[in-house]
């Protein structure tokens, strides 16, 4: 039994189903990222876990005990969770210290203990010298750290983060990403992290959950999701892949506009219309016709851009489809040349659509 379990969770607003039959198991101490495009129901799922919204179907269990169900839910204040909001939600009328101490005061700890715990967390979050400031007097990154400190100081059973970095500039975002992971490794709270930035998900998560239109598309490690997408949506959402459409010749071979591709996984059925994804950087280019045509595609270079670390080609295949290939910068191929692209079988993945 996992620590946190969502089973068959659905949420409807009027006729609109915004979360649809979501099931998920989270191990104690793991960081799980909910990743998906805007409006796919990430915040709604998080708010159900927090107890701000009741599900219409399904239930949420912690340690085997039901905390949310359509028939009634534990209110948020009884869940021993912490949440970091997209807006940070720092209380403008309290200093940094008062903001952080708030949760401890509600737990009726004595003053000395509160002081000690607050000092500790402020030091960890590098906020000690800002303790007496008001939130309005802090930069975005500092506010972010206050909101982290405020959430962590109560030692929650589960930590919920809703796009905590989306208001920061890209440098700060990168820094805070590792900061969050560092704090997590120090305290090991079970964490649900919502984002629509895949790089953020990759660097922070143990498990990534891809959501689309209210449903879960794929659950897996960052590597799983990146290397082995199971659906066209996931492959497109993660980016960096070419997607070719074709017909399954047998369980492992797909005919994509005349190019025969042997793939790493199995197609559901012979003669099915399927899509195949292949990452841009796994493709290699040859200027000579290969001996064995399987997994080789002939095409013409229509664009090539030097990117410093590597070279980015756009190649038009005989079928008229264009693919992108990222290779090393050695031995450039000029525009207009006919080339053969090798799509290695171990990197071709058949997708469900």
């Amino acid at each position: 039994m996992s620590f946190l379990e969502l089973s068959g969770l659905s949420k409807r607003y009027g006729p609109l189903t915004v979360v649809n039959n979501v099931s998920l198991s989270v191990e104690r101490g793991h960081v799980v990222c909910l990743l998906g495009p805007s409006g796919c129901g990430k915040t709604t799922t998080l708010r159900m876990i927090a107890g701000f919204a009741d599900p219409n179907d399904g239930e949420i269990r912690v340690d085997g005990k039901v905390i949310s169900a359509p028939s009634g839910s534990l209110p948020p204040e009884r869940r021993n969770m912490s949440m970091i909001f997209q807006s940070y939600a720092l209380w403008p009328h309290m200093t940094v210290r008062e903001n952080v101490a708030y949760g401890l005061q509600l737990r009726k700890l004595d003053k000395r203990k509160i002081q000690e715990l607050v000092d500790n967390i402020l030091a960890t979050a590098k906020l000690s010298n800002l303790a007496e400031r008001y939130p309005g007097e802090l930069s975005g990154g500092q506010q972010q750290r206050v909101s982290l400190a405020r959430a962590l100081v109560v030692e929650p059973n589960i930590l919920l983060l809703d796009e905590p970095l989306s208001n920061l500039d890209s440098n700060l975002r990168e820094e805070m990403r590792f900061e969050i992971r560092r704090l997590h490794d120090q305290y090991r709270y079970t964490t649900i992290y919502v984002t629509h930035d895949q790089a953020e998900a990759m660097t922070t998560a143990d498990v990534v959950v891809i959501m689309n239109g209210g449903s879960v598309e794929q659950v897996g490690s960052p590597e799983d999701i990146y290397e082995r997408p199971i659906s066209e949506f996931v492959a497109r959402f993660m980016g960096g892949s070419n997607i070719l459409r074709g017909r399954a010749l047998d369980h492992r071979t797909v005919d994509c506009g005349g190019v025969k591709l042997v793939c790493a996984n199995e197609a559901p059925q012979k003669d099915d219309q399927v899509a195949v994804s292949i990452r841009q950087h796994t493709i290699t280019i040859a200027t000579q016709r290969p001996e064995e045509p399987t997994n080789w595609a002939e095409g013409v270079v229509v664009r090539n851009v030097y990117l410093g670390a590597n070279r980015d080609y756009v190649i038009e295949l005989a079928s008229g489809e264009r693919i992108r290939v990222v290779t090393s910068t050695s031995s450039p191929v000029e525009n207009g040349r006919t080339v053969w692209c090798h799509l290695p079988p171990e990197h071709c993945r058949i997708l469900t659509s």
């Binding site: 927090a50 107890g51 701000f52 912690v62 340690d63 005990k65 905390i67 534990l74 209110p75 948020p76 204040e77 009884r78 869940r79 021993n80 969770m81 912490s82 949440m83 909001f85 997209q86 807006s87 939600a89 720092l90 209380w91 403008p92 009328h93 708030y102 949760g103 401890l104 509600l106 737990r107 009726k108 700890l109 715990l117 405020r150 959430a151 100081v153 109560v154 030692e155 059973n157 919920l160």
Partner: protein
């Protein structure tokens, strides 16, 4: 729940009982009682006779009896007159203040606020002192200047024209506020575009500016009409001596011996319907899209240089302020400090007799002041708290149908004071709930009257407080009530103080509803002023009136220093 917290230094949260649900239920019951109880009794009385049998004869009387029909005609005519005159006063003044470089614009705004704060019944009494046909100060000056006989007079305030004028002096600020706010928001590029094409100033005004502020002008005029229609004090002071009734005074007279409560209830119904209609129309006008898109501000409006017209502008503004504020205030001050009305204030005639009388001799005043102060503080405190929680429930959708509470809280805005007075009298003077004659019935009346403005204050304030601020405290272990107390209320504290101040001011100047509800033991300062007017004791009135004004201005000054104060919020003060 989760007990496995081994190795952690912070204990799991133990949450105390969440009182929010029972509290919300109680609040809902209270609002329903406040609003629906008096209205139900009013309707019940209107459609029954003395033996509690259903009848429509009360309404038939309204049509057939000319002594009941005439007050309606007069009141409507008077209100339309007030609407027109308020427009005439306010629109040019608002334009001068918002759109021209006339010097002293902030002084003018301050004077308009003064007129806003002046209770209309006090203004009416001041105009009695100034323009009564015989004793009026202005008439005396007129006779002295032209050496005329004692019965000649220039002005007679005891006429329908006099009444319209005396009311308009204190209703024009409603139009002024709305129009000048709208003018402030007219994008100046629209005007400039017209000017660049060679249109002279007056063409631009007529073709561009006036159409853009028309909704605000109409809405303001409707408020002025509503105020006039539902006002009791000024007509009672000026129309009764002139020998005619308006609806409000007629309702009041039906409670004089022998009381006819059924007829009074019946006559209240059309007045209530007029009020609802006016409010509804006003909401519709202000809610129109064309008006709200005006809200998008584009640059500071360009001020028009008046040049040699400055003198004319000041002549108009000065005359207006003289008539509405300066002369009445001077009249009150002089009357308070001299022994007889109309006596010039000199070193010889100076006397503190009236102050001595009011504060030490006249036993009723100290009681009335205590009652007024007590009720003001209680209404302001309770009203602020109730409005805060109601706005919280309504805007945060705490319980299903929470918005209904917000709706209930705004209903009283359409109940004229005197109608509420009738309803409360009928609801609480029977043997089920014998509150008549106690301060409780007055507290209920005040709370009902002040609820809409207070609620609207908080309801717009809540829109500016992000829900996540409250949620952040709840997820850390705070119940709804704790979050409201420790997070939301402190964040809204300046709104709360402002609301408190305005409820307090509204309470001490209220007369229309109170006139039917006070008894000898529960007199209020406003009612005492009205009583003293009947006995002709203008000196004492002036003392009490000035005191009311000083307290109001002191509180406004305090509230003005708060960051969230806005002139529009005064709109719902009543006379």
């Amino acid at each position: 729940m989760m007990s496995t917290r081994a190795g952690l230094s912070v204990p799991a949260i133990k949450v105390s009982v969440d009182w929010s649900k029972p509290l919300f239920a109680a609040l809902a019951a209270l609002l329903v009682a406040l609003v629906l109880l008096p209205l139900s009794w009013l309707i019940f009385y209107a459609i029954t006779d003395d033996t509690a049998k259903l009848t429509l004869s009360n309404f038939a009387g309204l049509v057939s009896d000319p002594t009941l029909r005439r007050p309606f005609v007069i009141a409507i005519g008077m209100s339309l007159g007030v609407g027109a005159l308020s427009c005439l006063f306010a629109t040019p003044l608002a334009w001068l203040v918002s759109r021209t470089d006339m010097p002293g614009r902030s002084i003018i705004r301050a004077f308009v606020t003064a007129s806003f704060v002046t209770p209309p019944f006090l203004g009416a009494i001041a105009w009695e002192i100034l323009a009564a046909p015989n004793s009026g100060v202005l008439n005396a000056i007129y006779r002295w200047m032209f050496d005329l006989d004692p019965y000649e007079h220039l002005f007679d305030i005891y006429t329908i024209e006099g009444l319209v004028f005396a009311i308009s002096c204190y209703t024009f600020p409603y139009v002024f506020t709305l129009v000048s706010n709208a003018l402030d928001r007219v994008p100046s590029d629209l005007e400039e575009a017209s000017a660049i094409q060679g249109a002279p100033l007056f063409t631009t005004l007529r073709r561009i500016t006036i159409p853009l502020v028309m909704p605000a002008l109409l809405a303001g005029t409707l408020v002025a009409i509503l105020q006039a229609l539902t006002m009791f004090g000024s007509p009672a002071i000026l129309a009764l001596p002139a020998g005619f009734h308006v609806i409000t005074t007629k309702i009041w007279s039906l409670f004089q011996y022998p009381a006819k409560p059924h007829l009074a209830a019946a006559i209240s119904v059309p007045l209530l319907m007029f009020a609802v209609l006016l409010i509804w129309t006003q909401k519709k006008i202000l809610g129109r899209r064309g008006y709200t898109t005006l809200g998008a501000k584009s640059g500071a409006p360009r001020l028009i240089a008046l040049g040699r017209w400055t003198w004319l502008a000041w002549g108009f503004a000065g005359a207006l302020l003289l008539l509405t504020v300066i002369l009445p205030y001077l009249a009150l001050i002089e009357t308070a400090l001299t022994r007889t009305v109309g006596q010039r204030l000199t070193f010889d005639s100076f006397t503190l007799h009236h102050f001595h009388f009011v504060f030490f001799e006249f036993s009723a005043t100290s009681l009335a002041m205590r009652n007024t102060f007590l009720l003001g503080v209680m209404t302001a405190t309770l009203g602020t708290a109730i409005a805060l929680v109601t706005a919280y429930i309504a805007s945060r959708n705490v319980v299903k149908g929470g918005w209904i509470l917000g709706y209930l809280a705004t209903v009283p805005i359409a109940i004229p004071g005197i109608v509420l007075g009738v309803g409360l009298f009928l609801a609480y003077s029977n043997s089920f709930v014998p509150l008549y004659g106690t301060l409780w019935i007055l507290l209920i009346a005040f709370l009902t009257i002040e609820m809409p403005a207070a609620y609207q204050q908080f309801s717009s304030a809540f829109k500016s407080v992000h829900v996540e601020l409250e949620e952040a405290s709840r997820i850390l272990g705070a119940t709804r009530m704790t979050a409201l107390r420790t997070i939301t209320a402190p964040i809204l504290r300046s709104n709360a103080v402002a609301t408190w101040c305005f409820i307090f001011i509204g309470t001490i100047r209220e007369l229309s509803a109170m006139i039917l509800l006070t008894t000898a033991d529960t007199k209020l300062v406003s009612v005492i002023i009205y009583d003293l007017n009947e006995s002709g004791d203008l000196g004492a009135i002036s003392v009490l009136g000035l005191m009311l004004l000083i307290v109001s201005f002191a509180i406004i000054t305090v509230a003005n220093r708060l960051p969230v104060f806005g002139g529009a919020k005064l709109i719902s003060l009543r006379g």
